[in-house]
């Protein structure tokens, strides 16, 4: 695949592009390649001040990296705690024997993602080989530097206790010992020397002449600083440490990795000419698949070790590869992802995009419900009840509602339609009033269905159209009823998956589930609130403003406490909420207030002319809002909405405070309470930070790309 035009997929009209409604902006003319020396003098040593900044900050970075490495890989770290508790961290108490359900869920998401990316994602130009090889070399270099900077391991005796040496003997009697004792002073002198050098060259005016001398001098001094940082750690002090040679030999695997990465990068770099490495592009997704593939492959080949906590026993087999129950499913997931991606690409080339986009998006909306209620929960359906009550009721609402929709969407229905809609609203309201006073019993499901039907009937005239249009609406209604009744039945059936905790699943699973359901609930509410807040009708505006300001003015944690601790007090006797349901409602109400503000920004960006034009063509308020205003405003507010998605994802960590076993709580409290890993906290927290970071970082990068593509800032 050379150049964007050579890519066969790029010649097909990209659906995402059609949706975005504009072409990718022309690629900026790239700046000419700089040699390494030119690059350094331009970006790091362009002036005396710049050089001093470079020197000081490089030293700070190296110190920070050294501290981080020594913290992460210190002998005091029990990383085994994280490896052993992988299952807890991701699903907590979900039973081991039902684990296939988890894999089905992951698989379903893999299939959907593969299809969506293959079908809908724009191919774009991808990553140039130049950038790729630079990244490879950079990663290799950073790993190499890290290997050198990390302190050597302490020598331990048979019981794992560090061997202690003679501290007096270590200091002063060798050069290394002296360096260790005076490291700060030496580094200070080196920095001062750099400053003096910069000042001297500056007074000479040499920086302006672009000569190499100042850079070379700075470089020598900086290398000396790095040397001090490395060598200092090999002084044997109070604790006896291994020698430099032993330490390097112990890190052979890391060296291998660094050399392979840097080597392949260098091979790419020097194997291709400047023009070719600039103009050859690899799709980013291929790089991702390759990376994931290497990870999966390494699970089969490299002895990562097998650690687990099974039935109260801690299993620890350092020499072996990971368990079959881990590597096999992940291999399948990888294959599913890649396979469905290729399938999606093929379908996209065959031109199926326009027909598949809507079903795919609907499927995405359905996925969380199906996966959680049907797959993870494995509900035990009461078939007698299903056949005698549930199915007939669903059929009744589908048929009756379908007829109502068919009738009410007639373009010339007139007054009769209004009367019928009002009657339906009356019936729906009466059902709820009757339930409040206990006049006659009716299933909650039927009451909600009536209410839905009443709302649809009220809005129906906005969707009036020809036969096909009406048939489509009827079909949509029938589908909604089928799905709705099916889901309510599932929710009402008891789960067969037995867990020792109240929650079905914990760990990262509950983090994701709460985040997804929160967003699904918060998004429509947020849009409604935003519409109400920008409405011209004062009561709507005041109510919505009050809601938004109150929820934005109060910390999330107090809302969560309200919904988990005392909200049940506000409910009738026969109703109660579990902690997780309560927390999700709290999250949703809170996020909705923020989402509303984001959407409001988008609504304000819609020009007045759009409103006037839609009034002029005679659209009703509902039509204007649904077909003219919302599509435009939502498009503008996509980047802040993604920001809110990230915020919600991060906020789910507050579940830990209200006592739900989410990802953070397990990393923080559960692992450190196990007999084998008493008090081991920092490892779990580091790991949790890393996982949260990966998700949030990728989402934010994606949102930035989206923002650029939509050109929101530029109009």
């Amino acid at each position: 695949m050379t150049a964007p035009m050579g890519d066969p997929a790029a010649t097909v009209v990209d659906p995402a592009e059609a949706w975005a409604g504009e072409q990718e902006p022309a690629r900026k003319p790239e700046e000419p390649s700089l040699s390494a020396g030119e690059w350094l003098s331009k970006n790091l040593f362009s002036s005396a001040v710049n050089s001093v900044l470079t020197v000081v900050f490089t030293l700070l970075v190296l110190l920070a990296v050294r501290g981080l490495l020594n913290f992460t890989f210190s002998e005091e770290r029990t990383w085994r705690a994280v490896k052993t508790n992988m299952r807890f961290l991701f699903t907590h108490a979900y039973p081991q024997e039902q684990y296939i359900r988890i894999w089905v869920c992951v698989g379903a998401i893999a299939v959907m993602s593969g299809l969506s990316v293959g079908l809908l994602a724009r191919t774009g130009a991808g990553i140039s080989l130049k950038k790729l090889s630079m990244n490879l070399m950079g990663t290799g270099g950073v790993i190499g530097l890290g290997i050198l900077l990390r302190e050597p391991s302490a020598m331990v005796d048979d019981e794992g206790m560090a061997l202690h040496g003679d501290p007096a003997a270590a200091v002063g009697d060798s050069f290394v010992g002296w360096l260790d004792a005076n490291a700060l002073a030496v580094l200070g002198v080196l920095v001062l020397a750099n400053v003096a050098l910069a000042a001297w060259f500056h007074l000479q005016g040499t920086y302006l002449r672009d000569g190499p001398e100042p850079r070379v001098a700075h470089g020598v001094l900086m290398l000396a600083s790095v040397g001090v940082l490395i060598v200092q750690q090999y002084a044997t002090g109070e604790i006896v440490r291994e020698s430099f040679a032993d330490a390097m030999a112990d890190r052979a695997w890391w060296w291998l990795g660094a050399v392979v990465l840097a080597g392949s990068g260098a091979a790419l770099w020097f194997g291709l000419g400047d023009a070719r490495r600039r103009n050859t592009f690899v799709p980013a997704i291929h790089v991702f698949f390759a990376g994931a593939g290497i990870m999966v492959l390494s699970a089969w080949l490299y002895p990562w070790g097998h650690y687990a906590f099974l039935e109260g026993e801690f299993i620890s087999e350092p020499g072996s590869t990971v368990a079959m129950t881990t590597k096999l499913p992940w291999t399948v997931m990888w294959a599913l992802l890649v396979g469905t991606f290729l399938l999606g690409r093929a379908l996209s080339t065959a031109g199926a995009v326009s027909r598949l986009r809507v079903p795919l998006n609907l499927l995405w909306v359905m996925t969380p419900f199906v996966l959680y209620w049907a797959v993870l929960r494995d509900p035990d359906l009461d078939w007698d009840h299903v056949l005698s009550t549930d199915i007939p009721m669903a059929v009744f609402f589908a048929v009756f509602g379908g007829l109502v929709v068919w009738y009410l969407t007639h373009p010339r229905i007139g007054e009769a339609g209004r009367i019928m809609a009002v009657v339906l609203v009356g019936v729906a309201v009466l059902n709820w009033v009757a339930a409040y006073f206990g006049w006659y019993p009716m299933l909650q499901k039927a009451r909600i269905s009536f209410l839905l039907l009443a709302v649809v009937a009220l809005l129906a005239h906005n969707f009036a159209g020809d036969r096909t249009q009406r048939l489509r609406l009827v079909a949509a209604w029938v589908a909604i009823m089928a799905v709705f009744h099916w889901l309510v039945t599932l929710v009402n059936s008891p789960s067969t998956v037995e867990t020792p905790t109240d929650a079905l699943i914990g760990g990262f699973g509950i983090t994701l589930i709460v985040a997804v359901f929160t967003l699904l609930a918060a998004f429509p509410l947020g849009v409604l609130l935003a519409l109400a807040r920008t409405s011209k009708l004062p009561i709507f505006r005041v109510l919505s403003t009050a809601y938004i300001e109150v929820f934005r003015g109060v910390p999330l944690i107090t809302i969560l406490f309200f919904f988990t601790l005392i909200f049940n007090l506000f409910l009738p006797d026969n109703m109660s909420l579990t902690d997780i349901a309560g927390a999700t409602i709290g999250f949703a109400l809170f996020s909705a207030a923020y989402l509303a503000e984001n959407v409001r920004g988008g609504l304000q960006a819609v020009r007045q002319g759009q409103y006037e034009a839609s009034d002029a063509v005679g659209l009703t308020t509902v039509q204007r809002t649904l077909f003219i205003v919302l599509p435009q405003s939502l498009r503008v507010s996509i980047p802040p909405l993604v920001g809110q998605v990230i915020a919600t994802f991060k906020e789910t960590s507050l579940l830990a405070v209200v006592g739900i076993f989410d990802f953070l709580r397990i990393a923080d409290k559960v692992i450190s309470a196990q007999s084998e890993f008493l008090g081991v906290k920092r490892e779990g927290l580091l790991f949790a930070s890393f996982i949260y970071w990966i998700f949030a970082y990728n989402m934010s990068k994606h949102s930035q790309r989206l923002e650029k593509r939509l050109g929101v800032g530029e109009r």
Binding site: V61, L537, V657, S689
Partner: protein, 511 residues
Amino acid sequence: MSNTDQTTLAATQSGRPPFYRDATVVKWLAQVFTLLLVVFALFFLTTQALENLNRQGIEIKYDFLGIGLGSDLREGIDTDPDTAGRALWAGAVNTIRIAVGGIIAATILGVLVGVGRLSSNWIVNRICSIFIETARNIPLLVQIIFIWALVATLPNVELDQGPINGVLHLSNKGVSVPRLHIDDGFYQWLIFIAAGVLVGWWVKRRQDRRHDATGQETYPVASFVGVLALFGAVGWVAHPIFGWVGAIFDFIGDGFSSLTPVIVQVVLSLAALAAAAWWIRRFLARRRTPAGLMKLTDDDKFRIIFAGVGALAVIAFVLVGWPGLSSWIINSGTDLLEVIANKFGDGRTGRPMDIKAPDVEQIGNFPNPGPAGLNLTQGGTAVFFGVVLYTASFIAEIVRGGILAVPKGQTEAALAVGLRRVTMLRRVILPQAFRVILPPLGNQYLNLTKNTSLAIAVGYSDFVQVGQIVYNQTGKTLEVISLWMLFYLACSLTISVIVNFFNIRMKIVER
């Protein structure tokens, strides 16, 4: 269908459609219906809660605030509070303390990182962007707990505590730094400061005018600071002459306590009526044209009616809904005035302020941070650095966006005139960027304040954590949660008022 058409035709001919097709009426019907729905939902939930509470024999009362609390707080102005109310007050002070300190620190760090993010130096640029991407993509709670676990790795407290003994103490018990200690004469001294601000302001305005008139450099800001310093210095010794101020507050307090509830009820009712009347007058004034009052639409009439109904609802609430409100206002107002009066006692002649270095005291076998310095416990350190780093990363992005929003021509012009880079940043870029930066910055301050509530995870005695202690001991969950919400709403309101004040000033400069 022809039937329908005729009806419509008839309606058009009569000038107005039937009421159920009249847009204004339908809109207001929908609004009133929604309002009723909301009111009903709230009513339903409240009665249900009251009923449930009744059944458990619990009443919603706030008298637990006066009852003693059996446990100590970890830190704050009062670590061994007598009552739950006092404990909550100490918690509130802790929250405000950490929020104010956090806002200052996060702003400084955020601006530095934001500017560094735009640096032409590659490594500075990279470091700043790595900091931003790390700090803002890890949940704040995880960061706070992680810092808490990191502080635990610091050395134990010792008598000669480092790194800088007497200035900065770091240990696994937290951080201690010198503290500004408010002493006896502080409040009298404040009167001098207030006077200094007034006079300084007047001097500054005079200097400004002279500068505008003559173009001479008149140092307006320096004169302001000079006047303020002068007043402060004089007040430092002369403050006891204001010993009589307390008597004035005593006098007002006496008058306030002799009010009867009926008077307060009447005053509140009149205030509600006056507010409604003021609103209606302003509304009508807007509808007035040189040719006379505009014809009011139905919408306008509904609005006016609603303002009246709202005022009546307030009056009904004050008179019937919660009659105790008035006596509560009288009591708490009297208490407040008494507290203020005490601050200006006649016998207060000491220095207004002192600086005290942190100390370490040994009680029994273990040394502990002493009471002299400003101590942040392990939890406090975690919360402070957590919110500062997290918020700074957002502020940095806001600052960067604000600077980028300044047209490039401004930079080029400033450099062409020969300004140095620092001067350019200070005089040309930042003032313009500030206008873009301010509104989102205010949001971040708000978020920071709310985020300090995560202290509950690491046991820092902030308002929420103390509240949790209180409801665990008294069982008054509902009351405590309502206090939480009120407190944070008040904080948010304060911050938005301050930010809006600056926002409006900025806009005036723009013209």
